[in-house]
Symmetry: C2
Amino acid sequence: MSKEITPREQDYSQWYNDLVLKGDLADYSAVRGCMVIKPYGFTLWENMRDNLDKMFKDTGHVNAYFPLFIPKSFLSKEAAHVEGFAKECAVVTHYRLMNDPNGGGVVVDPEARLEEELIVRPTSETIIWNTYKGWIQSYRDLPILVNQWANVVRWEMRTRLFLRTAEFLWQEGHTAHATQEEAVEETVKMLNVYAQFAEEFMAMPVIKGVKSESERFAGAVDTYCIEALMQDGKALQAGTSHFLGQNFAKAFEVQFLNKENQLEYVWATSWGVSTRFVGALVMAHSDDQGLILPPRIAPLQVVIVPIYKGQEQKEQIDTKVNIIMKELKSLGISVKYDDNDNARPGWKFAEYEMKGVPVRLALGARDLQNNVVEVARRDTKEKTSVSLEGIAAYVQQLLQDIQTAMFEKAKAYRDEHITNADSWDEFVKILDEKGGFVFAHWDGTPETETEIKEKTKATVRCIPIDGSGVEDGACILSGKPSKQRVLFARAY
Amino acid sequence: MSKEITPREQDYSQWYNDLVLKGDLADYSAVRGCMVIKPYGFTLWENMRDNLDKMFKDTGHVNAYFPLFIPKSFLSKEAAHVEGFAKECAVVTHYRLMNDPNGGGVVVDPEARLEEELIVRPTSETIIWNTYKGWIQSYRDLPILVNQWANVVRWEMRTRLFLRTAEFLWQEGHTAHATQEEAVEETVKMLNVYAQFAEEFMAMPVIKGVKSESERFAGAVDTYCIEALMQDGKALQAGTSHFLGQNFAKAFEVQFLNKENQLEYVWATSWGVSTRFVGALVMAHSDDQGLILPPRIAPLQVVIVPIYKGQEQKEQIDTKVNIIMKELKSLGISVKYDDNDNARPGWKFAEYEMKGVPVRLALGARDLQNNVVEVARRDTKEKTSVSLEGIAAYVQQLLQDIQTAMFEKAKAYRDEHITNADSWDEFVKILDEKGGFVFAHWDGTPETETEIKEKTKATVRCIPIDGSGVEDGACILSGKPSKQRVLFARAY
């Protein structure tokens, strides 16, 4: 099993695939566009999910579960929604197989055709709002703050592991409110939760913004997003939070009696992040030796490798390692002792570098005599000889330092790659030569956005909501007046 | 919204539905046979899932995720498996919808037909063993101890909330081993994990046994199960653990080089429990006033209801309740203060009885003067006036007592309902008049089992593995020799 990784410079796309496959995060499957998430990759996802889930619950949300299938007619009820989602989806038409009368295995039983086809959910607004209709009568039933962890299917033609797969795992929050203000507040609150999670747990700086009309979620009034920058200078939309207005309430006739005893349509939000986050994490930090994972969500934080000759040395090292392991675990640090004698230390070093384990301790007989241990950090590949006295506290601090350093490094890179452009030539040149975000004026029309996309493959990633770029100017392409710069980039 | 519950005596089946719907566990959905798991029910499932997940991890397992879809041809690869699962399943035949040229909303695009139909997984042995083929070369790659939490679909014709739904949530463990012994050991180990969980967390006594050939999982060599008894005297299979032999390894050509450098087929197990567990829990303990939930997995363990006149009394009670809440939370107890002034205390009492909250505290102004609080336990409906000094420790102990009492009560009922039968008349009489398990001799043939089922609707629930009932006897129906009694019952 070759563990060589294609360097980023040579082929960024292949580098990414190598990391995902050789880093044991995921595998291709027998089903077109669907992947297998391997245990190491799934533990990473679990660590993301569990931390996000806690943040959702801390902000008052509860989990529930809605059906995998959506009746075909539901998709048509919200006009914009059907345009966005009815195109690429898995359609269940039959509910039984039978033995092939000609002896060719099993075939679809033509008698078992569904009266109405079922769609495997591409997102759940329709089935959920159809359900909420039965749950909401009065303002006392509001708000509903529900989240669902689920699998969804979108029949993508070009797929990439984690970044774009036919089936993916995600969470989708669906909330119902009595007022527009409260729904908008919820939309922004969850955007902030995503941004906080991305920055504090994934060490991945993000820009919070609003999507342009053409990039808006099908059925939303406003789509908020967090945008991150990958190492090849392309942007990646990492999470979205939608203010849905009363669109789904109207489509599914969900009204409530307000305090004045009048019937009103309910206000809605939805918000989601998916296993795409794993792809973003990989591309944001890793290098040509493998994954670099932030300590707060790494499946394994510390690995210890013994270096010895003979059983006597091994036993001395074992004894010391057991003490260190116990201390680390008592601090809540995940640690593995790899004393597999089928592999040499150098091979192990490369293996754990590949897998992005943040800290490696290598302990030899000489080290033991000197009461030291070699500590290697994955992010910078620095090695230091550290006293065994207080090693657990040292490692704990180091993990925090790595988390901070990874964020700072990614932020510095991101900040260097936000470039103002004030002419079309400059705009194109930055996209082609430097990459990253180009901060430029746009006249706000879908026509201009489309033309820019056709000419450069760059899209409006977002209109920042922090007020940056608010100034009078002229559209980079049309020259028409603009009141705010927006962020353009080529994107995943 | 009526909260009246049909009494068990009147209509057990309706009683069950009332509890699930009015106890806010689940709701019907717009999709035939699929349910919506409501937040209260989902929290209950989360508590089950999280505790089981910890037990799986403590026994060395890791989670992964495999595709929702299975190529139709995979189902045919294992002969018994296809017979068991190809009959009732959701079949995806198309991957695109289009606007109806005649203006009737969206229709399936006839051009977008899949070359090979995809089956929504009814269980994942086939897709997983097809994947394991790529992961296993040598004995060093074994064992693989993987579990998956997922949704599955079986197109059942008659569905019941939680007990039998077209889509349900479950976990499925799929392990791969180098030897038969190790695989059998794993099968039994996981059966024991299920039994321990059912008894210690769900307070539901179970019998561990092996299934007869006709009740075996399609593709298994042996199916182990845990069987529980419901209050109407019917049995319920609550979990299964399968020794799959080399059946799937042979079907998917999964071989490994053993230590002697010879190619061998890999040995397999699979094991699963599902949201059916929730249905079992409801039926095992609840009464005509509502749910009775065991404290260790109850979504909410304690509710506090204030009883007051006027704002001054309310404020005094609030102050005390805040202290109690803090103490309870510091002991890891989940607690809610329901001071909603739209509902009267009596209404709240009924509501939390319906929802099965194990302990209710009612605090009035007079109580406060006397430094006491009224403590009501849901399982026995006993009410006690308890000193507010040390109330948190009292409640903590009470929750443990309730957990134990619920198990003991269910076990006494179950034990009373295991009845030996030594003649056919006796067998039929017990089934019809007393219900529960009938412990009787059986000649071991599928023909006799089928005849018994046709005559009485009772099936062989399991052959106990604890050695009970091992003795020479004569089959209850055929009179042929038998070496062991087996447990018969009518079942869900």
